[in-house]
């Protein structure tokens, strides 16, 4: 077989990496290159580009290799697939990262890999890339490393030292699905590894609070990803699993990735359009539990078989099921109540609370604060404004749900 060029490898190994949704480059330690080295980090991260799939491009997201000894059914790189295979050398990944970084294409590197030879061997190769960037090239940009769950503790410690964020994907919400779709992956090994990471991240934070010289360990925390729509798991199952993951492991993010057809797919999988709206609704529900004070049980409608309504967002759906709690008076309601009003986000609520200390809010005032009044106006009382009878009407959902649209190809 002819040697692949770096360009060909890049083609294969970025194609192989795109099913990982994570691209965050935020919330790590602040660094710059004023005293040497290359690169910096800002608090909030930067998205340097966007692809037509709507996902941001912040990092050079590639695999070291897409050879893999595992046979996870949903994965483009599973060992039974006939996709083209390639493997980067450590130097090639380092060169690409630095060349891209110097041209301001990226914030850093997100490196993952298929499992080759052994978990420890694979992990050691990933660590070698990060180590070369940090120690030989004094790279101060962002590094996200995928961890191999069963890799030994020393390798994990090194990975956490060089990386800003580490992650292990739980892939599917239940053990049964995992057994079926990812037979070599051991879900219990994955959760044990995530538990270990939480302890290390906390320990490093505590040590660094007392001494700036204490070694860092993955300062931007850990995240994970669940695939949506490959197995039969309901939204309820997925969201309950998320709550447990956030609660147990202090995750920064759980990413939901709508399962999309992959080249050379397995017969076991749905070959259909990725459930993008479902993915979107899951993110909205996830946000409601983390920032809006909702419990998973409240978000799901008992009568809907554990699935979120695809037509309207979960907060509006909740409000329509609890109309007796509305309208809410924007001049008097407390923060918790305002957060539950459809159309008000956390920032808008903060603005309302700030402004009403000094003046009573009219509906136009709320309009200057909130993004859109179309939904909101039906659920609030403001100075000189009460919503009409529509709030009590059965037609409200029809009225507020987006009109079905023909999707057009550009």
């Amino acid at each position: 077989m002819a040697q692949l060029t770096v360009m060909e490898k890049l083609e294969i190994l970025s194609d192989a990496a795109k099913y990982d949704a994570s691209c965050a480059s935020s919330s790590t330690t602040r660094r710059n290159s004023l005293k040497g080295g290359l690169g910096s980090t800002t608090g909030s991260g930067i998205c340097h580009s966007y692809a037509p799939d709507g996902r941001c491009i912040s990092l050079l997201k590639i695999l070291l290799t897409n050879y893999c000894s595992y046979d996870c059914v949903f994965c483009i790189n599973r060992s039974s697939s006939n996709v083209r295979r390639a493997r980067f050398s450590v130097a090639e990944v380092v060169d690409l990262t630095l060349s891209f970084y110097k041209r301001n294409y990226i914030e850093g590197l997100f490196l993952s890999s298929g499992i080759i030879r052994s978990p420890d061997y694979t992990m050691a190769e990933l660590v070698r890339v990060a180590q070369t960037l940090r120690e030989i090239h004094c790279f101060r940009g962002y590094i996200h490393l995928k961890l191999i769950p069963s890799a030994n503790a020393d390798l994990v410690a090194q990975a956490g030292l060089y990386a800003d964020r580490v992650s292990i994907n739980v892939e599917l919400p239940t053990e049964v699905s995992m057994e079926h779709f990812a037979p070599e992956k051991r879900p219990r090994e994955i959760s044990a590894a995530m538990g270990g990471l939480k302890l290390r991240i906390e320990e490093s934070k505590a040590e660094r609070a007392t001494s700036r010289r204490a070694p860092v360990f993955s300062p931007a925390g850990q995240s994970t990803q669940m695939i949506v729509g490959a197995d039969g798991a309901s939204d309820a199952t997925i969201l309950q699993r998320s709550v447990q993951l956030y609660g147990s492991f202090g995750l920064k993010r759980v990413y939901y990735s709508a399962f999309s057809p992959i080249p050379d797919s397995s017969v076991q999988l749905p070959l259909s359009e990725p459930p993008l709206m479902r993915e979107h609704r899951l993110y909205q529900a996830d946000w409601l539990t983390r920032f809006y004070g909702f419990e998973v049980g409240e978000i799901l409608d008992d009568g809907a078989g554990g699935m979120l309504d695809l037509a309207i967002d979960p907060k509006l759906a909740w409000a329509l099921r609890h109309r007796a709690r509305f309208p809410v008076d924007v001049n008097r309601a407390d923060r918790e109540t305002l957060l539950r009003v459809p159309g008000l986000g956390t920032k808008s609520v903060a603005r309302i609370l700030e402004t009403r200390r000094f003046r009573r809010l009219r509906l136009e005032d709320v309009g200057k604060i909130a993004r859109s009044m179309a939904t909101l106006r039906h659920f609030v009382v403001a100075e000189g404004w009460r919503p009409g009878v529509l709030l009590d009407s059965e037609r409200l959902k029809q009225h507020l749900a987006p009109k079905p649209q023909q999707l057009a190809l550009l």
């Binding site: 795109k18 099913y19 004023l34 290359l38 690169g39 996902r55 110097k102 538990g195 397995s266």
Partner: protein, 489 residues
């Protein structure tokens, strides 16, 4: 007759210091906003041409107060391309003297406008840090150097310079824009005149790799063009090397996805079949009862005898020397034990260790384990709240506890808390009546019962805690009397 106008000159379009100096003087002289003509550079004055006065000089000691937020707001607003920005800020400055909380009134017309302008400037700043694309050139010393061409919406070049200096301090670079340009030589920043696109290089060998990456990281099975455009507005596309791919990628996307769907699954490659063969041969596949502690420990990792394994992170098996003379049995792993996979490492474990030491016992000689091997909890926000295991869960886990007793064969077992006592003996009555008594298990092994160390942590008042800790210490001291080899040397 109308009052004469006053000409206020600013050095450049985002001259915050110039605005501040003159606005201060004008405000102290109580000059009405309508009388001031804010002019940038030496351009001919318009509105009040011919009748302009110089700004007044403020009296010594005169003061002007503004909230700290106003500085931040004004520094952003002066960068906006709107010609009315200096006038708006001046009006806000005057109003703030009479209405000190004005900035909180986000619904006020002036405040709303200023905030919207600041937001637009901050967004442009952020987008510039994202969308500047450098191209490599040969530096003056023959080394590496980079040049970028960018067209910002607002007057942000100077403000954004800090970001690029901090990021690329060791590299020579220039960013050219129509109005001003930045040049960094590795040590100092030089602000230059505006430039034109022709002054920047028109290609870079690495852009081919970048476009390859862009095309391949895109998932053609999902199209969210609106989401892309919201974050990467088309006005920026002309200076992004990857943007030329957007239209062809979208055009080909539907076809590519259909091909994936239409293609029949293939047979796995030979490499895969060989590998499967190797794995099958290596499979242990034993279902017999564990014959050693190691086997029991391994097997327990996959335990699903009750539902607790669904939520818990991992099985927390007992640990300690297999020849230990004493086995301590707790209730269940807590939050920390669940994460670490080891028993008695959390707060209760620390109390246990401390009191063991005070009672003169050597902790390292004991085997410690729990009646239930998985953590049972409910999630409250970011915290996990411990829940008591019920009888079914205790019964299911008795299998593992039995194996541990079989392989360790301690002389004495100590039940820490009612759950442990229940698991060991089936007794469900009060713990208090069993304390400080020499008990025995069915097989004759000596048994002591005492509290679980976590209950000492839950006692709210200091005296009760001291009293109960002393009792617990006395119970542990009994262990040393019954089994002298447990005593620390």
């Amino acid at each position: 007759m109308a009052q004469s106008g006053i000409l206020a000159r600013l050095d450049h379009p985002a001259d915050f210091e110039g605005w501040r100096r003159q606005a201060r003087a004008l405000a102290l002289a109580e000059v009405a906003p309508a009388r001031i003509d804010w002019q940038i550079g030496t351009e001919a004055s318009g509105l009040f041409a011919g009748l302009a006065e110089r700004p007044p000089v403020p009296a010594n000691g005169a003061e002007l107060r503004v909230p700290r937020d106003f500085f931040e707001l004004a520094q952003a607003v002066v960068c906006h391309r709107d010609n009315g920005r200096f006038d708006l800020l001046y009006r806000l400055l005057l109003r703030l003297q009479r209405e000190p909380t004005l900035l909180h009134a986000v619904t006020d017309e002036d405040v709303h406008r200023a905030r919207a302008m600041a937001k637009s400037v901050r967004r442009d700043l952020h987008k510039m840090t994202a969308f500047v694309r450098f191209r490599e050139v040969v530096g003056p010393d023959g080394g590496e150097a980079f040049v970028a061409w960018f067209e910002p919406e607002h007057h942000i070049v100077e403000r954004v310079s800090r970001f690029f200096v901090e990021r690329f301090a060791a590299i020579r670079w220039s960013i050219l824009t129509p109005l001003r340009s930045l040049h960094w030589d590795g040590t100092t920043l030089h602000l230059g005149e505006g430039a034109s696109r022709a002054d920047a290089p028109d290609d870079d060998a690495v852009e081919g790799y970048w476009r390859t990456y862009y095309a391949n990281i895109f998932n053609s099975a999902r199209l969210k063009i609106k989401a892309m455009k919201a974050e990467m507005p088309e006005k920026y596309w002309r200076n992004l090397p990857e943007a030329e791919l957007i239209a062809p990628l979208i055009a080909a996307a539907g076809k590519r996805a259909q091909e994936m769907v239409a293609k029949a699954p293939t047979l796995p490659p030979e490499r895969h079949l060989r590998q499967m063969q190797r794995l099958r041969e290596a499979e242990p596949g034993s279902t017999e009862a564990p014959a050693s502690w190691e086997q029991a420990w391994q097997a327990a990792k996959d335990c699903s005898r009750c539902g607790l394994c669904q939520q818990a992170t991992q099985t927390v098996f007992g640990e300690g020397p297999l020849a230990a003379p004493v086995m301590f049995v707790g209730e269940q792993p807590g939050d920390q034990e669940d994460l670490a996979g080891r028993p008695f490492v959390g707060p209760a474990g620390q109390v246990f260790d401390a009191v063991m030491g005070e009672a003169g016992l050597d902790r390292s000689r004991a085997y410690v384990t729990n009646a239930v091997k998985h953590f049972k909890f409910t999630v409250r926000g970011k915290r996990r709240i411990h829940e008591r295991p019920h009888a079914g869960e205790i019964a299911a886990c008795r299998f593992w506890l039995g194996l541990e007793r079989e392989f360790v064969r301690p002389k004495l077992v100590v039940a820490l808390g009612a759950t442990a006592l229940h698991a060991l003996t089936g007794y469900t009555g009060s713990l208090a009546s069993m304390r400080e008594r020499d008990l025995a298990l069915e097989d004759g092994t000596a048994l002591l019962a005492t509290v679980h160390p976590s209950c000492l942590l839950r006692l709210p008042d200091e005296t009760a805690r001291e009293r109960e800790t002393a009792r617990f210490r006395a119970d542990l001291a009994r262990v040393g009397l019954l089994v002298p080899e447990m005593r620390a040397a």
